[in-house]
């Protein structure tokens, strides 16, 4: 009887301890973020152009729980980040968050209830990859989220759809613009793009 209790306790300690100690897995943290986003997008009360601003505000609030836009901005800018002043960094990040918000939320809004499956996760030190598929009329499109461990929170800093990395794509565009127009030119292009989104917003 006693031995059985000891064995049971031992087994319990083996199974329970790592769960208690460790940070929640990247998948476990990403799931509720995506869930809250898909819920917002499916919410009938938030649909239509009349509720656009309210919907965007709510989506942005939900995204910031699990997505690190500042990290994205840094990674997109690359080496130039080291060469600019603190004020320039602040302004750049501010403009980038606006840009990424327009891009990412704009893309999210085309979501219409497709099923998302979580396939696999990989953790390497402080980085992780969560592989999902989104079902698009029977064709399963692979979407990988790349996360970074920030304190005890896994934050997404890149999204890879069908092999195409969001950060990598903007990074290459920035490189090409930086080559000819330098940092000041790049900032102008970003401001211009953000303005075009605002105009689009006004005309809707």
């Amino acid at each position: 009887m006693k031995i059985r209790t000891v064995v049971l306790l031992f087994l319990l300690s083996v199974f329970v301890c790592p769960v208690v100690d460790a940070v929640e897995s990247p998948t476990a943290q990403l799931k509720p973020t995506l869930k809250s986003l898909t819920d917002l997008l499916a919410d009938e009360r938030l649909k239509g152009d009349a509720h656009r601003d309210e919907r965007r505000a709510k989506i942005m609030k939900a995204i910031k729980v699990g997505f690190d836009f500042e990290e994205m901005s840094k990674r997109i800018l690359g080496r130039t980040w080291q060469e600019i002043s603190t004020e320039e960094r602040e302004y750049f990040t501010h403009q980038m968050i606006k840009l990424l918000e327009n891009i990412y939320v704009g893309k999210l809004e085309s979501y219409s209830g497709q099923q998302i499956d979580f396939l696999e996760e990989r953790v390497k030190d402080k980085r992780a990859q969560v592989t999902t598929t989104i079902d698009n009329e029977g064709v399963k499109v692979p979407v990988h989220y790349i996360l970074n461990l920030d304190d005890s929170r896994w934050m997404v800093y890149d999204i890879n759809i069908e092999g195409v990395s969001l950060v990598g794509n903007y990074r290459e565009q920035f490189k090409s613009i930086l080559r000819t127009d330098k940092f000041s030119g790049l900032i102008k292009v970003i401001e211009e793009k953000n303005r075009s989104f605002e105009k689009g917003q006004a005309s809707l």
Binding site: G78, W81, E120, K140, G168, F174, S176, I177
Partner: protein, 263 residues
């Protein structure tokens, strides 16, 4: 139509049998399509240095390609999109879907050859089964009961991908008039796939062939999502955005073989 389909039937039946048997013994080919490890290369490492190791896309023709890019952009917004819109107005979505199915069904021998060349035997088996099911139950391939009733989504395979899987490099980047992004490897692949298309052997005259290709092209545009317009809208340098996306998309296709998720 006097097609060579009569003599093709026993050949197809033999293939079917062969694939049925081989698919039982080829789990290794299926296992190869695991999820890619995107953490391997942290090219955007913590010092945010430019990824020296990252593969650069060879684009010595960039100035010329950018001219073609502008041309295609005008072609898209001034010609193709209006044509597509009229076409989409005239035909309901379901019918356009059926036309798309028919075109894809006719092209399935190309996919079959490429899956076989790539050693993807279970996909090859799927292609043959789909062709059989859709041609008979889907009324000459206009319907896609294989996908809707038998849960067999179409595998994708092309000759550019086959070349890539045998180790061929991409070569320099091309932006073709009308067709858009490509490279040396995929251009060769495209030409080969086009030449192998059974439609070319139906004895159509050049006008009919052009009509078929044109309809297939516009039809595909009308049912595919507007990736091009999206990219233009969300990019700061659309030329670079498309070049990069094409490169990464093709590499991913070559690495995973295009079967992920539908094991």
């Amino acid at each position: 139509m006097r097609i060579r389909s009569c003599s093709a039937i026993p050949v197809l039946l033999c293939l079917w049998g062969f694939l049925l048997v081989s698919s039982l013994f080829a789990p290794a080919a299926v296992a190869a399509a695991a999820t890619p490890d995107l953490l391997l290369e942290d090219e955007y490492g913590y010092d945010y240095a430019d990824g020296q190791g990252a593969d650069e896309i060879a684009d010595p023709l960039e100035p010329w390609n950018r001219v073609v890019f502008v041309f295609n952009d005008k072609l898209y917004f001034w010609v193709l999109k209006p044509v597509k819109n009229v076409y989409a107005e005239a035909l309901p979505y379901d019918i356009r879907g059926c036309i798309g199915n028919f075109v894809n069904n006719l092209a399935s021998p190309i996919v079959l050859v490429n899956t076989l060349l790539q050693g993807r035997f279970s996909d090859a088996w799927t292609v043959v089964s789909r062709f059989g099911i859709n041609t008979v139950l889907g009324v000459y391939g206009f319907g896609d009961p294989a996908a809707s009733e038998f849960a067999m989504p179409p595998p994708a395979a092309d000759f550019g991908q086959t070349l890539g899987r045998y180790g061929a490099g991409a070569g320099i980047y091309f932006y073709w008039p009308v067709f858009g992004p490509s490279n040396v490897r995929d251009t060769v692949g495209r030409v080969a796939d086009y030449a192998a298309n059974p439609v070319n052997y139906l004895g159509l005259n050049s006008d009919e062939a052009l009509g078929y290709s044109g309809t297939a092209f516009i039809n595909r545009m009308s049912i595919a999502p507007d990736v091009y317009e999206e990219t233009i809208k969300y990019s700061l340098d659309p030329y670079v955005a498309i070049r990069q996306a094409y490169h990464e998309y093709r590499n991913a296709r070559i690495q995973r073989g295009g079967t992920e998720g539908n094991e």
